[in-house]
Symmetry: C2
Subunit: 192 residues, 2 copies
């Protein structure tokens, strides 16, 4: 997605060989009009997939997931990383491992919000090690729903997440694919 | 906002005298079209206020804040409750006290995303004790920006937050105002 790639180059900051900072439009400040374009792009790419529901995870996944759900006119749910005040009922939960923190944490979705009849599109802001996406996939499988695909705003192609998800056979659409962040610059992956 | 009040009556659940569960459309599942109507309503009510930026707080504030920012064509930032991977730079922080947990926690916004020239509209999902709103106000004041007002989706008028914020002199727009949750039912506040 050219607009997104331009934004990354103009408004992103490479913090290290492994980390791209896009707080200015995605992870802290949010660019509303860019979120609309992201939603339109995901909707185009998944419009033939019969998506009934979008599943994302708090917090940075919510904005791109919302604009996508508006375009697809689908339902929307976000997985919680911590139980909220009202999350008492039966839950689907999954473990998500953090390589940085070297520890696992639990994410959850209330059972009432995922039905076996659902066809679920996963949307998230970053794809790195893929652990969050795998956790959401696990939750969808527990519910009996089917997976329409995975939409990622920014993929770091040099990390294992993309490969892991491809091997599982899912349709993955990443709006920006980054081959490298070394030497302080963003190098996009060019599909052959 | 009649549509919202109808949704609360049809899809909300009174968990106790103090807690209304609206996970089905606001706090876990999100109703995208309702979020759009909420955004249009907030935009109508604040369109004369010269809003340059919306400030909300993760996670449930993000969806209503995003749709409002789309209507007002303003910038958008969400305060963090925990430092994210990329939040290294100078921060404005404030303490937020939780009466339920009986402990304070810190919320933060990177300084680069609040300028003295900003005129900030605060948006949040619930107004109860008002501590989160007071924390956001504190942060805005630290930045030198001015406060355009406060937009709340659901206000529990029987809790102290509304009164506290009114005494501070802010323009507050709550789309649903709840006078009581006792006897397992929602009683809306009727303005005289
Ligand atoms: N800005 C930025 N973030 C990255 C990058 N790579 C991974 N992340 C984010 O970091 C968080 C993952 O960290 P960990 O759970 O510790 O996992 P990891 O060490 O195995 O990558 C996730 O944030 P999250 O759960 O999505 O947090 P939130 O923003 O939704 O609160 C993920 O999206 C990157 O290059 N840049
Ligand atoms: N569903 C529901 N939630 C309520 C109600 N009253 C307060 N809350 C939410 O509970 C959380 C506040 O809890 P505490 O910080 O422990 O504060 P408190 O005990 O002083 O109220 C906030 O969630 P938050 O920080 O906004 O969490 P998040 O949803 O954004 O993650 C607030 O919006 C209610 O009647 N119903």
């Amino acid at each position: 997605m050219k607009t997104l790639k331009d934004e990354i180059l103009q408004r992103g900051a490479v913090l290290s060989d492994g980390v791209l900072k896009v707080d200015s439009f995605l992870n802290h400040a949010i660019d509303p009009n860019l979120m609309t374009k992201i939603g339109e792009t995901f909707a185009e790419r998944f419009q033939e997939e019969g998506v009934t529901k979008i599943l994302t995870i708090e917090s940075s996944g919510i904005a791109p997931a919302l604009t996508t759900s508006l375009q697809l006119q689908s339902e929307l749910v976000f997985a919680r990383k911590r139980k909220s005040l009202t999350m008492r009922d039966d839950l689907y939960s999954a473990e998500v491992y953090s390589f940085t923190k070297q520890q696992a944490s639990e994410i959850s979705v209330s059972k009432e919000f995922l039905q076996p009849t659902d066809r679920v599109l996963i949307i998230d802001d970053f794809l790195a090690n893929g652990q969050a996406a795998l956790g959401l996939i696990d939750i969808i499988k527990q519910s009996g729903a089917s997976i329409a695909g995975i939409g990622i705003v920014i993929e770091k192609t040099f990390q294992p997440g993309r490969e892991i998800l491809e091997q599982e056979g899912y349709k993955i659409e990443s709006l920006a694919r980054i081959a490298s962040l070394s030497d302080g610059k963003v190098t996009f992956y060019t599909e052959k």
